[in-house]
């Protein structure tokens, strides 16, 4: 990303915050309802140690839940790609599991697995693993048939075709799935923290809200958003390094230029 292309989001951001600040001041909006950006910034600064202390366990669980969903999702995708029985048997179940709102299931998970990490990881996994399954399976099966035929013509066996042809060809879709999954993992862990945690950024948000400390609540939300953006950005960076042979799924630059 060039310095110039970074300039635009920054400019828009500054304009947005300036507008927000002036509206809040002009209309005399109470901080408990909508604090001005300057107040949120001050809270972010003065209470940074507390926010970071709660951000860390959330971050750890998001990354862990995400990794589990990537590994699990890809494994399931491979199984349903190569086994017709598995596909016919499990695929409908997987789809149904996605339709059930995880937030509704969360209290049950707590009863079965307790109020600790396992419940939250399970929730994050359940939310984040479906895009990995779909995208990986689509990527594996959607590979150009000509490439597969070429590999067969040169005596590639099933494993070689999977590892050297299908898997690399599927990578763009796999990374697309990962970008969706990381976002969902963030949501999953934070939502789980609302109903089943003793620490974490979601816990801090609930605590701040419980005392009507809206500035702290919004500061926590800002910190959470920054973390989510950083995680997404990390994946996009890795994607660009791994998928060096074609443009990635990031929006194109230039527009109508």
């Amino acid at each position: 990303m060039s310095a110039r292309s970074l300039g635009w989001p920054i400019a828009v951001g500054i304009a947005f915050f300036a507008l927000w600040e002036s509206i809040v001041v002009a209309l005399g909006v109470k901080p408990v309802v909508l604090p001005p950006p300057t107040l949120i910034g001050r809270v972010l600064w003065t209470r940074a140690p507390l926010i970071v202390e709660h951000l860390w366990p959330t971050f750890y669980e998001i990354v862990l839940g995400f990794l589990l969903s990537v590994v699990g999702g890809m494994l399931v995708a491979v199984v349903i790609t190569y086994s017709t029985i598995a596909r016919k048997g499990f695929y409908p179940l997987i789809v149904v599991s996605q339709i059930i709102p995880k937030v509704a299931v969360a209290p049950l998970l707590v009863v079965w697995f307790g109020l600790g990490g396992p419940s939250r990881l399970l929730l994050a996994f359940l939310i984040a693993f479906f895009p990995m399954v779909i995208n990986t399976a689509t990527g594996l099966t959607g590979v150009d048939d000509d490439l597969v035929r070429m590999a067969r013509a040169y005596m590639g066996n099933r494993w070689q075709i999977f590892a050297k042809i299908r898997l690399p060809a599927a990578l763009p879709l796999v990374f697309g799935g990962m970008k969706i999954s990381i976002t969902l993992a963030v949501i999953g862990v934070v939502v789980a923290e609302f109903v089943a945690a003793q620490r974490g950024i979601g816990y801090l948000i609930v605590m701040a809200n419980g005392l009507l400390d809206t500035p702290l609540m919004m500061a926590a939300i800002v910190a959470l958003s920054a973390m989510g953006l950083a995680l997404y950005g990390a994946i996009a960076l890795i994607e660009r390094a791994v998928i060096y042979w074609q443009p990635t799924s990031e929006p194109a630059r230039g527009g109508f230029a």
């Binding site: 809270v43 507390l50 109020l115 109903v195 816990y203 605590m207 419980g210």
Partner: protein, 358 residues
């Protein structure tokens, strides 16, 4: 020893327990105990933080961890399933859960007066139940105050159809009252009042119990298994928490300081401090009843427990609820007492928090 649950809880073993409970820590080292609050650790729960900070459990050989809770209903489950040794929760909800098969017993009272009621901003001038007709009233889905609303309607004779009800998640309730999106709402005195007062606003309130819906509110509870098999542990835990409660009654400002020191998330502004202070004051005020002054901290009036049980059966659809004397025990209560002079001072200190029927 095999004693039936009934005889055991009637306190006939009280003497043995009292002797055991006062003993200092054994040679083994601290016993780990997990305790859950009913909700987030707001000002009403200063006593547990005091007990922990000032070593009232430590000196009795207990290492107590304090977790936030997710509502009395959830506490029933986690406590009943053994994920915690002790918990604090609403007695009515606990009785309902015992009816559903969870193994719970109340070991001491915290708030004999029920904080459940209908609250509104003073400026709305809603002073009597009849004033609610034609108004918009908010409730949290699944809340205790909404479950008891039919009892309140019956007791006050208002026309339910004329009250416009809206539902929202519990987090949104207080804000929507302050922002006047609703005229009144069902809530818990200890939750709503401190936050509203800290914003510089005044409240009108109608507590259900002032209109005949009498319920015991917050209690400490555990599984009956633990009461039966580890009465010594119960005694030590309850003594520690009651000593903390006494300190909170007698030293409210220091208690607020301790609370803020231990719950870092609530530091940061004088408004936050006020919310904690008011919350603590409200809980103290709700504990000031004659039979506690007479019998000591934690005492639960058998009549009130019986009335609570009846209300739960009538309005919460509970079935198969055991007899009242199987649901609680005063065996651990009343071992910490304040002098009449001390009670006087406490009452004076929380005068502004005692809810007055409008």
């Amino acid at each position: 020893m095999t004693i039936s649950r009934r005889t055991f809880l009637s306190g006939s073993a009280a003497a043995a327990i009292a002797a055991g409970g006062a003993r200092a820590a054994g040679a083994q080292g601290a016993t780990k105990v997990k305790f859950t609050l009913p909700w987030i650790p707001h000002g009403g729960y200063s006593h547990v933080f005091v007990a922990k900070k000032l070593g009232y459990w430590e000196k009795r050989g207990l290492d107590v961890s304090i977790d936030r809770g997710f509502g009395s209903g959830e506490v029933c489950k986690t406590l009943g399933l053994g994920q915690y040794e002790f918990g604090s929760l609403d007695l009515g909800v606990m009785i309902n859960c015992v009816g559903k098969g969870l193994d719970l017993v109340a070991t001491g009272g915290l708030s004999p007066r029920s904080p459940v009621g209908i609250f509104s901003l003073a400026k709305k001038n809603i002073r009597a139940p009849k004033d609610l007709e034609g108004k918009k009233v908010a409730f949290a889905t699944g809340s205790g105050d909404f479950q008891l609303w039919p009892a309140f309607v019956k007791a006050t004779g208002i026309d339910d159809a004329k009250v416009q009800k809206v539902f929202m998640g519990p987090e949104a309730l207080i804000k929507s009252l302050i922002e006047e999106q609703v005229d009144a709402e069902g809530n818990f005195y200890g939750s709503i009042a401190p936050s509203v007062w800290a914003q510089g606003l005044d409240l009108n309130l109608m507590l259900y119990e002032d209109y005949g819906v009498r319920m015991f509110s917050l209690v400490f509870a555990t599984r009956s298994k633990i009461v039966k098999e580890q009465p010594d542990l119960c005694g030590r835990f309850m003594d520690g928490v009651m000593e903390g409660l006494a300190y909170t009654y007698l030293h409210p400002n220091e208690s607020v300081d301790i609370h803020l020191a231990m719950v870092k998330e609530f530091q940061g502004s004088s408004t936050n401090r006020d919310v904690v202070k008011h919350g603590q004051g409200v809980m103290t005020a709700m504990g000031l009843v004659p039979d506690v002054e007479k019998n000591g901290l934690g005492f639960m009036d058998p009549e009130v427990v019986k009335r609570t049980r009846e209300t739960v059966i009538a309005y919460m659809g509970a079935k198969d609820v055991p007899a009242a004397d199987q649901l609680y025990t005063n065996a651990f209560a009343g071992r910490i007492k304040l002098t009449p002079a001390q009670w006087s001072g406490v009452r004076e200190g929380v005068k502004r928090y005692v809810p007055v029927k409008a």
